[in-house]
Amino acid sequence: MEHRDHIPVIGTSGSICRRGSLRPALSAVFFAGLLQIMGGCATARLTQFHNFAQAGTAYVKASQAVLDEAGTAAIEADSLIAQKGRDGLRTVDERREFIVGENQELRKRLLLLREIGRHGRLLQSYFETLAALADPKAPATLGTAAQGIFDSIGRLSPAIKNASLGGVKIQDHIPQAANFVVQAFKVKALENELKARSSDIEREIALQEAAFSVISSTLETDLIVKLQLEETEEVIEPFSTAKDLPRSWAVRREEILRARVAAASARAGQEAASKLRESFVALVENRLSEPSIAGIIAAINSMLDLTEEIKKATTSK
């Protein structure tokens, strides 16, 4: 899968770079934008919308990586448990029934994770359309495009709201609606679009926030379970019983112990969605500031750190 090795750079060009280069690229884009925001010129507003769209794109790429890890962790934890407990099932039929049942339940979970990812990607498209609408030379058809994307988001969100994961209903975690007033913009098509849909879009970003709040608790349990089983099999057992320790033993031990720390920080996705929502409100109110942008960058970097730590512990075996 693409996300396991690379994190795409922000922007809409589709170019790909190593994860390590994301932060400087991200910072450079935003600092360039900041200079214009603080300049207070008409271009600044356009830049704000472009910067927000890029932040939204970076958020979606990073959140997709967390969703992938959530799915992977669920499957890997279940596989390790199945392998360990297999001898607890005495007959062929018992084993078959167990694994078929587990596959069925895991498929349901993966489907929900996929829907959350799709919802995020539609939001990304909406932010990109909004950035295009901020251009005074934007074609009139863009308003229709925004409406179409919004309709697709609206069709997808009820299924996510009503879903449960790890015992928590996503709808119960949606934060309260923010109160905000759409500012007047010179580009009337943009202003009309924001007046028509910004409140609903704020609620859709809140749905992402709620989904990540729920995902993080499940991801945390799956990761802890997986890492504990690996710690027993790959660290404790060889140390206790093997004549000679494998050469990679110390490295593997460090990876597992460090990944356990990362498991506890699985809430980064929720934080990033929360910052994105705050920034969206600031954008609509024409007050997107340096701290808002820095907040998104920090939260997205935390998501990247989390997935990086998890990957380290899962791919180097």
Partner: protein, 112 residues
């Protein structure tokens, strides 16, 4: 408690139980137990994971009545199971509490 709270606390207990049953401390304890208990420990590990997945995917509105009907048994089971998981005194006592709790969960969602 409303059914949503019973649901969340039941699932949280299954999560905690799974974390404990996959811990190195529990593994060391089971390795020193008789073969029959070792086999039972593996079977209970699978039952807890299965119950956790099935319950997590279940729609609350479809199981609300069963949750309410089994509320007291679930609450008693959680208390007793958590007590055993905290003490980790004997393999037999932990397995008895786990089995008893999962049996109550099986009245709410169909388990294998």
């Amino acid at each position: 408690m409303d059914s949503a709270q019973i649901y969340s606390s039941t699932l949280e207990q299954l999560n905690k139980t799974l974390v404990r049953l996959t811990s190195p401390e529990w593994d060391a304890k089971v390795q020193g137990a008789p073969p029959e208990q070792r086999q039972k420990a593996l079977a209970e590990l699978l039952r807890v994971q299965h119950a956790r997945l099935v319950l997590a995917n279940a729609a609350l509105q479809e199981i609300a009545d069963q949750l309410k009907a089994n509320e007291q048994n679930l609450l008693d089971g959680q208390k007793s199971l958590q007590g055993e998981l905290d003490k980790l005194a004997t393999v037999e006592a932990v397995l008895k509490a786990v089995s008893s709790f999962v049996n109550v969960v099986a009245r709410i969602v169909p388990l294998i």
